[in-house]
């Protein structure tokens, strides 16, 4: 399998990675009627079981190189959708299609899981628990490379340096353990690890929410750069509307598992149609904003 050498600023070169991604026919992600139901035991003595619908009928399509935001508050189902997409959660209904292949059913074999891993990767929210604390950065990325790509040890070593460079880390930072890195740096490692698999789609589950504001800006810029250079598709889960504006082209707004609004990010944020979307927008602190009681809980 060709290794992708992506140099900073070398926009004109068509890298093998970009070639691989462009070969995907049709949308990178296509989801229809996605549904997730949890059985919750409740009531006296735990004898009664309720069905809790976490996600009800979400449908969307994401083209290669585009970015989709999924917005909502806690309990909206946005994280559940992310987990279903990458296979950490089973699907109760609907279909998921990634890079032209259906993944609605749970992966039956390790090789199928690996294949799906090479199509879609995830970056989690908390940089402090998303890396193995005992594994050096180099080892962590090396493991992913060995899993998905055929390379010699030297080629892998070279690739690790390239990946670290791509996310703004130095070779020296590859040798250390996660505890020696800051939150922002660890998140860069998580991104590098995801990129190592050369996926067609990257799912970012509140990937910048736990970072300091100044670091957030760095990572947002980094993500935008990477998407531009590799033509990867992003699914960006967030509760922060301003960040979503900066990172996505299209957005889905979720309230309690239901999609209440969907479309171009700009249009939704400038001229929202749904009451809930308007409420979300009205709650964001901005210059000139004054807090007022909204009476929700």
């Amino acid at each position: 399998m060709p290794k992708a050498v992506i140099r900073m600023g070398d926009e004109t070169a068509i890298t093998p990675l970009a070639q691989k991604l462009r070969r995907v026919d049709g949308p990178a992600v296509h989801v229809m009627g996605l549904r997730k139901v949890f059985r919750v035991s409740g009531g006296a003595g735990g004898r009664h079981h309720r069905d809790f619908v976490a996600v009800e009928g979400a449908s969307f399509s994401l083209e290669q190189g585009h970015s989709l935001g999924i917005v909502g508050e806690s309990g909206s189902g946005k994280t559940t959708i992310a987990r279903m997409l990458v296979g950490i959660e089973t699907i109760s209904g609907g279909t998921i299609n990634v890079a032209g292949r259906d993944r609605s059913a749970t992966a039956k074999s390790t090789s199928e899981r690996r294949r799906r891993g090479s199509e879609m990767q995830i970056v989690f929210q908390d940089p402090y628990t998303s890396l193995d604390p005992r594994q050096s950065i180099n080892s962590c990325i090396n493991e992913v490379l060995k899993l998905h790509l055929t390379m010699t040890e030297d080629e892998r070593r070279q690739r690790i340096i390239e990946l670290l460079d791509q996310v703004g880390l130095t070779e020296r930072q590859g040798i250390v353990l996660p505890k020696n890195l800051s939150g922002g740096q660890r998140q860069r490692v998580a991104i590098a690890r995801a990129l190592a698999a050369e996926p067609a789609v990257l799912v970012l589950d509140e990937a910048v929410s736990a970072l300091d504001v100044s670091i957030q800006a760095q990572i947002i810029n980094l993500l935008n750069d990477i998407r531009e250079r590799t033509n990867m598709a992003y699914i960006f889960i967030s509760h922060n509307l301003a960040v979503v504006r900066q990172v996505t082209d299209q957005t889905l707004v979720l309230k309690k598992g239901v999609v209440v609004e969907q479309g171009d990010t700009e249009k939704i944020l400038d001229t929202p149609e749904d009451e809930y979307t308007k409420l979300l927008l009205a709650s964001v602190p901005e210059p000139g904003w004054k807090p007022r009681r909204v009476g929700v809980d």
Partner: protein, 335 residues
């Protein structure tokens, strides 16, 4: 007229990785009666530590120097008993994570009335009645039923409101709020902040509000103090902050924030990462990340200066014309 809270030259050392290290340096700030002052900063800024120092809630081996005076009286040499009394009657804290700060095996009613019954000797029924009233005021319906519930039966937003209620019940003169809404949804945050501000204003309570969100602080504070690496680098009013920030860090922080109504090609980012006090180089702590750095910045620590009613620690404060938005056409003087 004495300040309600007067922190002067407060420095705090804590044990980090087996050694004493500075986490707060020479912090001076006042809070007047019924005033809202926000401390804004990123990781390592020392904002949370400042609030905890006021209530003497530092980790066991913390060392404080400087002075903290409440209503004219210094707290530095107060006995444990005095501190307890202070925390029980005159100042109180709202914590970030209500689930970590409220005992899960006690009912909400017990939690709310504990301080009143034990410290003020109030009758339990009267305390519960007051608690119920306050719960309703903070937006929790069916208060009587809620009083009998346990924390795990309430959502995060409701629990935080309950914590606010518990603080208001004590009727302190000063509320310290340590990131009280960071763990909440944005709609809940808006509601909770509005309630907190309303009730506080009704009762003429002062508030020291800790947050990482500069816009949130600017929305309802009388004054905002920006902290970096254990120092206060700027104290200003919200209007001044937006029209003319004085410190390069403040300006950069405001500009690096993504905007709700506009997308830029690239967010103006600050290189490097926020430092803690003990990681800062000699001289100005922000020098390694500052776009306006000069030789003098590494030489000596900038002292607080008063400019147009704002306080700023920057050698170049008088020359720089900083702006807070990306597209403003304001000129920068590059020295």
């Amino acid at each position: 007229m004495t300040h309600l809270l007067n922190i002067e030259n407060l420095s705090v050392d804590l044990v980090v990785h087996r050694r004493y290290r500075k986490v707060l340096q020479d912090v001076s700030i006042t809070v007047e009666r019924a005033e809202v002052v926000s401390l804004v900063g990123e990781s390592g800024s020392g904002k949370s530590m400042t609030a905890r120092s006021v209530l003497n809630l530092l980790p066991a081996q913390g060392k404080m120097s400087g002075d903290i005076a409440f209503d004219g009286q210094s707290l530095m040499n107060a006995s444990d008993k005095d501190w307890q009394k202070f925390r029980a009657t005159r100042a109180a804290m709202i914590f970030q994570d209500p689930r970590a700060s409220i005992n899960p095996v006690h009912r909400i009613g017990d939690f709310l009335t504990e301080a009143l019954v034990h410290n003020r000797g109030m009758d339990r029924h009267e305390a519960l009645a007051r608690a119920a009233t306050l719960l309703e005021q903070v937006g929790i319906d069916d208060a009587k039923r809620r009083l009998r519930q346990y924390p795990h039966e309430l959502s995060g937003g409701m629990l935080q409101r309950a914590m606010i209620a518990s603080v208001l019940l004590i009727e302190p003169e000063l509320i310290l709020a340590d990131e009280p809404t960071t763990a909440l949804d944005v709609t809940t945050q808006a509601d909770v902040i509005a309630i907190l501000d309303d009730l506080r204003a009704q009762r003429d309570m002062a508030m020291l509000f800790i947050t990482h969100d500069l816009e949130l602080a600017a929305a309802f504070s009388d004054r905002v103090a920006v902290m970096y690496a254990g120092y206060i680098v700027e104290i200003s009013t919200p209007t001044q902050l937006h029209s003319r920030p004085l410190h390069p860090y403040t300006a950069a922080l405001l500009r690096s924030r993504p905007m709700l109504h506009e997308r830029t090609a690239r967010l103006p980012q600050i290189s490097g990462r926020p430092l803690s006090a003990f990681e800062a180089p000699p001289g100005c702590p922000f020098q390694d990340r500052c776009p306006y750095v000069q030789a003098q910045c590494g030489g000596s620590l900038p002292q607080p200066q008063l400019i147009n009613g704002s306080v700023v620690r920057c050698h170049r404060a008088n020359e720089l014309e900083l702006v807070s938005t990306v597209n403003a056409e304001g000129g920068h003087s590059h020295g």
